[in-house]
């Protein structure tokens, strides 16, 4: 009987193998029924984390693209109107899951891919996209290694050397800080990179740099380390999940120093964690709410009318900078498709470097070295812990 079951199981296995193949190719032919109209379809890949450490941030970034897709669901390419379909692949914020998520998007027939939130996954998947000749536009991955030395990865945000310098200058100007405590996550390209660039600008000798391993819950010791070191600022550009715990510890230990962080912290997760607590938080970011009133009003309306979107945005209609960036990235992709006059990834890649777009986060153009966005200014915001809102402080450049 057992043997019989085994054979049966093996047969099922073989059958599913064929079913798997058949099912997938069937999907491809029936592609047109993905959309609501009879228009031909162009696919834009969304390579974002929807779970894991950066899940919250990735979802907010996707929101911007989804809203843009609602506003502008079609695009004219070489005289034909196409319906734009977003294809999603969750890279789970994990570098080892990234290549297969990337491959999924490639085999779904995307013309261009947007993403990801978090630099590590972008670096890990880069070669997979490269081998397939797929153009990718990084939305908020700020580590230089994402675009360095390749010709298929572009990005619309500023870079960590810039952001790190801005934050270091801000710390020196605003707080007359002479010592800084830097906390990054072990093996995380984003926080590790940003801390390194911050220290380069601030002076490595005056910094204490520490890293916590993945899965850390107890940040009290790190906060105690910062206190014992006698730092003037606490620099911790980590994921929002860890950030919430760090803020909690900082508040309960009464750490008397400002916390500085990068663009990931520009999120309502941080506001909710800090609300009503005795902490001082400053972040640099890409976009200031109120920068483009009609966009703000439109996306707020949409978020409030869509329960899933609202849940993905953390339960309120506060607009994260990454949503604005996602919105711009979508339009940049449409622009690229229009210029290319084709839905073939190869054709889009050929012209992507020259595409420009005037978005809600400012004018976007790529430089010719690595395909990075030309941006020279960042917004600095402070968290108002009594009202739970961001307060604009100033625009800061490198100098």
């Amino acid at each position: 009987m057992r043997k019989f079951l085994t054979i049966l199981f093996a047969c099922m296995l073989v059958l599913t193998l064929f079913a798997g193949c058949g099912g997938n190719s069937g999907n491809d032919q029936g592609a047109a029924d993905d959309g609501d109209t009879d228009l031909p379809i162009v696919r834009i890949g969304v390579f974002e984390p929807q779970s894991g450490d950066n899940g919250a941030g990735g979802k907010q970034e996707i929101l911007g693209m989804q809203y843009a897709n609602v506003v502008t669901p079609t695009v004219d390419i070489a005289g034909t109107t196409y319906e734009v379909v977003l294809e999603y692949a969750d890279n789970q914020s994990a570098n080892d899951k990234a290549p297969s998520a990337a491959q999924t998007l490639i085999s779904k027939g995307c013309s261009i891919v947007l993403g990801s939130y978090g630099s590590g996954v972008s670096i890990a998947a880069s070669d997979t996209f490269k081998d397939a000749g797929m153009p990718v536009v990084g939305v908020t991955c700020t580590n230089p290694a994402v675009t360095a030395g390749n010709s298929h990865y572009f990005r619309i945000c500023f870079l960590d050397p810039f952001q790190g310098t801005v934050l270091a200058n801000f710390a020196k100007d605003q707080f007359k800080a002479s010592k800084a405590y830097c906390l990054a996550k072990l093996g995380d390209d984003y926080s590790g990179g940003l801390c390194n660039f911050f220290m380069d600008a601030f002076g490595e000798a005056n910094c204490r740099y520490e890293m916590f391993p993945e899965g850390t819950n107890d940040y009290s010791t790190y906060v105690a380390n910062a206190k014992a070191y006698g730092a003037d600022v606490f620099f911790s550009p980590v994921s929002t999940e860890a950030a919430a715990l760090i803020i909690d510890q900082v508040a309960s230990q009464g750490l008397d120093m400002p916390i500085l962080a990068g663009d990931t912290w520009d999120s309502n997760v941080i506001l909710n964690a800090a609300k009503g607590k005795n902490v001082e938080i400053f972040v640099t970011t890409f976009y200031q709410e109120g920068g483009a009133p009609s966009f703000d009003a439109g996306i707020k309306n949409w978020i409030n009318s869509d329960a899933t979107a609202k849940a993905n945005n953390g339960g309120d209609d506060m607009i994260a900078a990454v949503s604005a960036m996602g919105y711009d990235a979508y339009y940049l992709a449409l622009e690229a498709l229009k210029v290319a006059g084709s839905t073939k990834p190869g054709d889009v890649l050929a012209i992507l470097g020259g595409v420009t777009y005037d978005g809600v986060s400012g004018a976007i153009a790529f430089d010719t070295v690595n395909g990075d966005a030309v941006r020279s200014v960042a917004f600095v915001k402070r968290c108002d812990t009594s009202s739970g809102e961001w307060v604009f402080i100033k625009q800061q450049g490198v100098n």
């Binding site: 054979i7 296995l13 997938n24 491959q103 490639i106 590590g120 397939a132």
Partner: protein, 389 residues
């Protein structure tokens, strides 16, 4: 004797057919096709099959319950990557450190001997990865192999975690790039015949070939006198010792060989994944491999291979629709949302473990079942004839 020869011949024919199929598919499928996923998952399955078989050698054939697989894979992957990074891109990889190791085996040998040298360089780096893993296993073996069952399991699990922490330590950054990823080394997709657009891609074939060769070596080992000694230890340590088998020595041999192939598997995983980062080699990876071994059948090499293919194909490919709203033509984004794939997958595994206790193959191999089917068919034939008559 005659039987044995037929069996060997069948295996060779089967493997040649497999290679031919892989090469054929690789030429037909373009990276942007829907079926391109087939090649990706085939590569990953090859890696996991090798690692699962190496774990089975220890857990299934020698009866040593070890959970250190991820740690040994990590060492193999790092060693391989460090010695094959392109010299001109080293600076961009070791962005925050001054690298110490400045040898790229494929480049050095390739410069001297051309493409053959390049290939030898890659192979050397892979073997070096295996040797480093085996060497560390030898050292770990001294304290650990004296422990029994569960204690051995948690001790090896602990060593894997310690190894991971050491590789992430910033003081070792000039060698390991600390916790940052290594990249720009020789990858599977670098395996091409010819150059430019006319190049023939053989990356999947290379992965499958490497795995088959390594698994073949393990099978030969299992069928040797060492293999019989391992099985004796598994069945009864005391009796085995009484029979004159040096327990410690044989355990040490099994542990080192298993780790060697885990290291080679790690190197292959590095080649597959384009980047290597210590953070990815967590205990979860070991657990995944253990599940594959158990699903395939503890003590069955072909079981481990089949289970690896099934496991990777299902988790990375077939069930992906469960995550993105559409599965088998059913459109239900409310239920088929992110994470559903993993829920179904883990429930499936749970059911197999509860109701299919001995795994897919038990401790038998594929030929056993082939023969069983043949017997069944031949005994049934006369009956069918009777019915007709």
């Amino acid at each position: 004797m005659e039987n044995k020869r037929i069996q060997n011949l069948t295996s060779v024919v089967f493997l040649l057919a497999l290679f031919a199929l892989v090469i054929f598919l690789e030429q037909v499928i373009k990276p942007t096709d829907t079926m391109a996923m087939l090649l990706t998952v085939t590569k990953k399955s090859a890696v996991y099959a090798l690692v699962a078989v190496s774990m089975n050698l220890l857990n299934g054939f020698t009866g040593l319950f070890s959970l250190g697989q991820a740690g040994f894979m990590l060492m193999g992957a790092y060693t391989y990557a460090i010695f094959t990074i392109e010299s001109e891109r080293r600076d961009s990889v070791y962005y925050y450190f001054d690298q110490v190791v400045n040898v790229s085996l494929p480049e050095t040998l390739g410069g001297a001997l051309g493409s053959v040298g390049w290939l030898v360089g890659v192979l050397l780096a892979i073997i070096l990865g295996g040797l480093v893993a085996a060497g560390v296993a030898y050292l770990i073996g001294f304290p650990v192999l004296r422990l029994k069952s569960d204690y051995l399991a948690i001790a090896t699990l602990g060593f894997a975690e310690i190894i991971r922490a050491i590789f992430q330590w910033r003081m070792l950054g000039p060698v390991t790039n600390a916790a940052n990823p290594l990249k720009s080394y020789v990858r599977l997709s670098d395996f091409k015949i010819g150059t430019g657009d006319a190049a023939i891609n053989i990356s999947t074939f290379v992965a499958v070939l490497l795995a088959v060769v390594c698994i073949g070596i393990i099978v030969m080992l299992i069928n040797s006198s060492y293999g019989r000694a391992f099985k004796a230890i598994r069945e009864d340590e005391v009796a085995a010792e009484a029979m004159g088998i040096n327990l410690y020595k044989h355990k040490q041999i099994a542990f080192c060989i298993s780790s060697f192939f885990a290291g080679v598997g790690g190197a292959m995983l590095a080649m597959f994944a384009n980047t290597v980062q210590a953070n990815n080699f967590k205990s979860n990876m070991t657990f995944e491999i253990l599940l594959i071994v158990v699903l395939g059948g503890i003590g069955s090499v072909s079981g481990s291979c089949i289970a690896a293919v099934f496991f990777i194909f299902a988790s990375e490919w077939w069930l992906r629709g469960l995550d993105s709203g559409r599965f088998l033509g059913i459109f239900a984004p409310g239920i088929f949302r992110n994470g559903f794939r993993l829920v179904i997958f883990s429930v499936g595994i749970m059911l197999v473990i509860l109701f299919f206790r001995r795994g897919l193959m038990g401790d038998k191999e594929l030929p056993y079942y082939v023969k069983w089917i043949k017997d069944k068919l031949t005994t049934q034939k006369p009956k069918a004839g009777e019915a007709n008559g």
